[in-house]
């Protein structure tokens, strides 16, 4: 067994520097790497480019990095729900590259799987396709999109083992598996870290080969963005 276990978040983020490009898993506040984000705030790295579907809310998720002006550029599909984000974007402090959600996921997956680029129909005929190569296949038009390049990917899983194998829960899976192995170093934080051999190999969502460092996360807040319920009749 090749162990990927590191002692904690501090060791897991070793080598993260200013101006790096980071991938961060999560959809809204669901399945975000809470521990890694807190550590990024603590070490104070700046001028980061962050690839993440959303940008958190004002006081949680990537919003915490925005408050400290640590992000130079965001690559996302949807960035509402965050006033500080809006302020920095309108004042020109923050650069934003909006990417269709499926394209964003595939740009991660392509990086993971060794494809330099791929054709997608998403965005054809819109401003997203401006300056990009287009091509017709079977009578339909497609846009050439390139794989991401990133220094670190930070993902959050439900369970993991020392070998770096990961299992996710519910819709907290989202972008996390696509980002594993899509950056030079993938760091996984998990709610429950177990010794190798304890997870059923049949149930693994992400094999450990895609993960370089894994650690036991703590104090998960798992904030709910829109609490919607029905009343019992």
């Amino acid at each position: 067994m090749i162990s990927k276990k590191v002692t904690g978040v501090e060791a897991a983020l070793k080598g993260v520097k200013d101006k790096m490009t980071l991938m961060l898993g999560g959809f809204g506040l669901c399945g975000i790497p809470e521990n890694a984000i807190a550590e990024l705030v603590r070490i104070g790295v700046k001028e980061l480019t962050c690839i993440s579907n959303n940008a958190g809310v004002d006081d949680f998720g990537l919003g915490l990095l925005l408050q400290k002006h640590q992000i130079k550029k965001m690559i996302s599909s949807y960035v509402g729900e965050n006033e500080e984000f809006e302020r920095q974007m309108l004042s020109g402090e923050l650069e934003v590259e909006l990417t269709p959600q499926g394209t964003l996921a595939e740009k991660c997956r392509a990086a993971q799987a060794g494809f330099p680029a791929f054709y997608t129909p998403a965005g054809y005929g819109t401003e997203v396709a401006e300056g990009k190569e287009t091509r017709e296949f079977n009578g339909k038009m497609y846009v050439l999109e390139e794989a991401f390049k990133a220094d670190f990917a930070f993902v959050k899983a439900w369970k993991g083992d020392e070998a770096g194998n990961l299992i996710f829960k519910g819709t907290a899976r989202n972008f996390n598996p696509c980002m594993c192995g899509a950056a030079d170093i993938t760091v996984a934080e998990v709610e429950e870290l177990v010794p190798a051999g304890e997870l059923d190999p049949n149930q693994i969502h992400v094999p450990g080969i895609f993960v370089q460092r894994i650690f036991q996360g703590k104090n998960y807040e798992k904030r709910i963005e829109q609490r919607t319920v029905r009343t019992r009749k």
């Binding site: 949807y78 974007m89 959600q101 829960k169």
Partner: protein, 217 residues
């Protein structure tokens, strides 16, 4: 004239047995409330769930189980979770049978604009561009006119596009229309709405063939 629930109720009739359906935010979300319960349908949410159920009972919310609107949800028997690349594989690969979404503008050639108003805060397209570029069966749910009373069914979209030539059907508070080579073909009128009223509210080419039936909702 229909209200938002009326639009959703009419669209629910387009949902057939065995369909996998993706519902956008807003009026489309309401469609789930009106689908006949004697047919089998599964709702997909692009953040990674198929087989979405109703909102959870109070106290049973799970932060790890949400829909694309970031609302807490439940799952039904037969449901599955998957990653974002797989989710958009379902959409791009045309495995989802029906997509229902809202729009700011639709053009008579099927172009749609629903993500950006220049000069206003741009929040992003989310999954809308992937959905409209990939799906073959797209129904737009929207009001016929905007708050200023201007038509949202146009010759040509004025706002930045989300996709080109992709909308097949539109259900508004006034009518059901299909996108054809000749323009918006008027299929049904909302209860109590005349063809004249629809003509007046439609800036794009409106094609009226014979007697236009009033929809049953």
């Amino acid at each position: 004239m229909l209200d938002k629930n009326g639009i959703a109720k009419r669209i629910a009739k387009e949902v057939k047995d065995g369909y996998y359906v993706n519902l956008g935010i807003g009026i489309p979300t309401l469609v789930a409330n009106f689908v006949r319960d004697d047919i089998n349908v599964e709702f997909q949410s692009e953040n990674g769930v198929l087989g979405m159920g109703p909102f959870p009972f109070e106290g049973e919310e799970d932060a790890d189980i949400i829909n694309a609107g970031k609302q807490t949800i439940t799952t039904l028997p037969g449901a599955s979770f998957f990653d974002s690349a797989t989710s958009f594989g379902m959409i791009r690969g045309k495995h989802v049978d029906l997509t229902i979404l809202g729009a700011m503008e639709v053009a008579e050639n099927g172009d749609i604009a629903n993500w950006k108003i220049p000069g206003k805060m741009v929040k992003g397209m989310g999954g809308a561009m992937d959905l409209v570029a990939s799906a073959e069966n797209i129904i737009v749910a929207m009001m016929h006119t905007n708050r200023a009373g201007q038509s949202k069914l146009l010759k040509k979209c004025t706002l930045p596009l989300t996709g080109v030539g992709c909308v097949t059907k539109i259900v508004t508070n006034l009518a059901v229309l299909e996108v054809t080579d000749r323009g918006f073909l008027l299929k049904e009128r909302a209860p109590g709405v005349s063809v004249e009223q629809i003509k007046e509210a439609t800036e794009g080419t409106l094609v009226v063939e014979g007697e236009v039936p009033e929809m049953s909702v």
